[in-house]
Subunit: 170 residues, 2 copies
Amino acid sequence: MTDVETRAVHIRPATDDDWPALWPMLRDNAAAAETYTWDPHIDESAARALWMKQPPGRTVVAVDSDGTVVGSAYTRPNQDGPGAHVANASFLVDPKQSGRGVARALCAHVLDQAKTDGYRAMQFNAVVETNVRAVALWQSFGFETLATVPEAFQHPVHGYVGLRIMYRRL
Amino acid sequence: MTDVETRAVHIRPATDDDWPALWPMLRDNAAAAETYTWDPHIDESAARALWMKQPPGRTVVAVDSDGTVVGSAYTRPNQDGPGAHVANASFLVDPKQSGRGVARALCAHVLDQAKTDGYRAMQFNAVVETNVRAVALWQSFGFETLATVPEAFQHPVHGYVGLRIMYRRL
């Protein structure tokens, strides 16, 4: 393994000071329009409201040993009221840090925190089926695909592809 | 058939003037916590933002021949950006008007409008499985259940029950 692969990341709650590092990641991911159902032209204030969750939601960042933000995740209730005991989560990783386990570390953290918070399960509503690395990662954490909504995502290269609804108990 | 059952409803876009009739329906439905994943204590301003959709969303009302609002529905993109071609919809009917076909009339309208608007499919994310009348109604319109998220709804009488994800092409 290289140094990059073995460098550990630390995960902590996100603060307002983290936003300038997160905004380019979210903006570029939205513009690529390959992995999330975000407006490709989302503006910064909408992006900030989307990502920096208020309680009971949580937003965390993964930081390098030198404090550089290399990824982030949020959790929130997937539904309100009588559905608020199922969590939803979303993940962002700096593409330059891809392959060193940042998403895996974030997912492990988020699952632990969600269980501690009292959620009974976690549900992903829209995993793009061509995002095979993400699908494999969530499966490695025990997520199963409840259904694939056919042609629910318009991919810039692959055309209409399915969105997986993935789920695991906590 | 009785007079009540045969009285037709007219469906038109909702206006600000309709909100005072809609708020008690939404409030009482949320408080009952049997059919929607809404905060049972939702306040009026949050409820209004939830129901009275801005474009590209649409909110309509079903009105009696005397102008009384007897139900309502909204449509919106179920996801943003590359997922915005699948519609979502939600329905409210005055419980005093139950059984006369208001929900059916609203659903027929919403499906037609969504197709006209260019959506390719409609998805319901959270149909409470014990709401058997709604499930049967959506099935009669050709919706199929893609999956049932287990125990995703805490019902005040039945305990943890599933949420059906229902879908049909347009």
